[in-house]
């Protein structure tokens, strides 16, 4: 990729268009997919797609490998749940409160872990995630503990929920595209590649890192809040490290540091795991093995492989035409 197609603006534009195609396919799916069960599966896979996009913002774009995305989804789900359970606050307030709440907690966590990199950051965010989960599990009086909490739903219509998720995925995707095209996105990439270097060039690392944390956590919180109202039950299991593992798997398989990768990765992994459930529950073995294989040998993930092929194929086609 040694021509103008390797420029970030170009890579991002191609990436965004591909992601839009995926969203279009999702939007058209109910024409053929009508079973509520299958729609439900697609909704859950979009929940994971949102988490994957949120985590990818932080890890793939800004280079901060947090192990807490699932914990933030859990927090985002509990906020509307608790607001309703204790104070009968409506979801119209509860869901935005969940998003803002997770953004604030994410911002604070970002401030606190500012100086930590690599394994130190991974351990600190892992601890945060586990503490959050243990506290929620054990605060029975407030959260009803491991038993979980019933949450009201936004609507009864499954198709309605389906399109709500499609719309949210689209909005988040477009938001990511515009941010990544702006100076903020470029500063994140710089921080990811060399934090000290970024600082020396005059990039306010503190500000942009905490911003990445806040936005990423807000996306995860949004995903959790919506998912909670969809499943009408939130429990500490949403925040299990295993869930974070699944999200990482989706991003790594799909292609980290891209827009299409997390989206496609989440859909493929979740749909395939539903399919494999029928084949003797081997899905987690397959996906964890795939994560290792992709991380080891295909670091750009599925989307990276496709994008590179596309770019390579073009000059050859041009040469053939001559």
């Amino acid at each position: 990729m040694s021509d103008a197609r390797n420029l970030w603006s170009h890579r991002l534009a191609v990436d965004f268009r591909a992601a839009l195609v995926v969203v279009a396919v999702l939007a058209a799916a109910p024409i053929v997919v009508t079973s509520p069960y299958t729609l439900g599966i697609l909704i859950v896979s979009m929940y994971f797609a949102l988490l994957a996009m949120g985590w990818n913002l932080l890890a793939g774009f800004a280079g901060q490998f947090s192990l807490a995305p699932a914990a933030f989804a859990m927090l985002g789900a509990y906020v509307p749940g608790l607001l309703d359970y204790h104070w009968h606050v409506s979801l119209a307030v509860g869901i935005p409160a969940g998003i803002v709440g997770t953004a604030i907690v994410g911002w604070l966590l970002g401030r606190v872990v500012l100086r930590l990199r690599g394994p130190y950051l991974a351990l600190t965010t892992l601890s945060f995630a586990e503490i959050a989960r243990v506290v929620i599990s054990n605060s029975y009086d407030f959260t009803r503990g491991a038993q979980g909490l019933n949450v009201p739903t936004l609507m009864q219509s499954r198709v309605g929920y389906y399109y709500l998720f499609v719309a949210v995925v689209l909005v988040v995707l477009a938001g990511l595209f515009f941010v990544m095209r702006s100076a903020i996105g470029r500063f994140w990439l710089a921080i990811r590649d060399d934090e000290t270097g970024a600082e020396s060039r005059g990039i306010d690392v503190v500000r942009y890192k905490t911003l990445a944390f806040a936005l990423s956590c807000a996306i995860c919180g949004l995903a959790g809040a919506l998912y909670g109202t969809f499943s009408q039950l939130v429990s500490p299991e949403l925040g299990l490290l295993l869930q974070t593992g699944i999200v990482i798997a989706m991003v790594v398989i799909g292609g980290i540091g891209t827009l299409t990768g997390p989206l496609v990765g989440a859909l493929l992994v979740y749909l395939a795991s539903e399919w494999m459930r029928g084949l003797g529950n081997v899905q987690m073995i397959v996906f964890s093995a795939l994560v290792i294989i992709f991380a080891r040998f295909f670091r750009e993930g599925l989307w990276g492989l496709v994008a590179r092929r596309r770019v390579r194929a073009l000059p050859r086609a041009a040469a053939g035409a001559r």
Binding site: R5, N6, L7, R186, D194, A198, E199, I203
Partner: protein, 240 residues
């Protein structure tokens, strides 16, 4: 006018005094060479000047403002930029995007940054590799790219740490030319270097450090012929 000034600057690592009571002044418009044997504290001094290390004692003044303990970002905003001994480019984006990012970081708008990036790439002979990821560039090309990132919005003072070390002679010449030209336009440099011929050719004045202390400062030729300086270099040689 004195652009940068330090008073009694000191930094210890454990028991080692990496920099000890350093008083240094860089005059506006000059190229000051900072020489000294390995481990004499040049990089540590630069780290304190650019805000990457907080001094144990002493103060740093930039354009008559006390900037001691200010963060690198704050200093960069005031026009005090530094380059590292080992290059720090953004390896997973293209060389062109590196320049663009640096321009945006210095407050240029995107169109302006793009324009300046193209001019700089040409001047630095990097146009043929501008679309390669910076990680694919050679060491010398990365150094040139860093020059570009530094000068996409010209700094008031550029601190360069060993820019000529381990660089192909042709590129070394490109760099020296770049520095000289910018200097003629009025830019100020503090250059840490081991390459004596280039120091002689490039620098108006030179300062020499040894064991964390400033042992000589003055016209470049005088400093290089100073017996104390020769002694310091010979002394370090015999240790190797």
């Amino acid at each position: 006018m004195t652009l940068l000034r330090t008073e009694g600057l000191a930094k210890h690592f454990g028991g080692v005094a990496a920099v000890d009571d350093l008083a240094l002044a860089v005059e506006e418009g000059e190229i000051l060479g900072l020489i000294g044997p390995n481990g004499s504290g040049k990089t540590t001094a630069l780290n304190m000047l650019s805000g990457f290390l907080v001094p144990d004692r002493g103060s740093v003044w930039f354009a008559d403002e006390n900037v001691t303990g200010k963060k690198p970002v704050a200093l960069a905003r005031r026009g005090l930029l530094r380059m590292f001994q080992t290059t720090r480019v953004f390896v997973r984006i293209s060389a062109f995007d590196n320049l663009l990012t640096a321009g945006l970081a210095r407050g240029l708008d995107e169109a302006e940054a793009r324009e300046r990036a193209r001019v700089l790439l040409e001047e630095l002979t990097l146009t043929p590799v501008m679309y390669l990821d910076a990680g694919q560039l050679s060491g010398g090309q990365r150094k040139l790219l860093e020059f570009g990132m530094c000068f996409i919005a010209p700094p008031r003072l550029a601190l360069l740490d060993e820019p000529f070390a381990a660089v192909h002679p042709v590129m070394r010449e490109t760099m020296a030319r770049f520095i000289r030209r910018r200097n003629e336009e009025g830019h100020t440099f503090l250059v840490v270097s081991h390459d004596m011929p280039i120091v002689v050719e490039l620098c108006d004045r030179a300062a020499c450090m040894n064991a964390g202390r400033l042992i000589a400062i003055g016209a470049t030729r005088d400093v290089l012929q100073d017996p104390v300086v020769i002694e310091a270099y010979l002394g370090s040689e015999s240790h190797v």
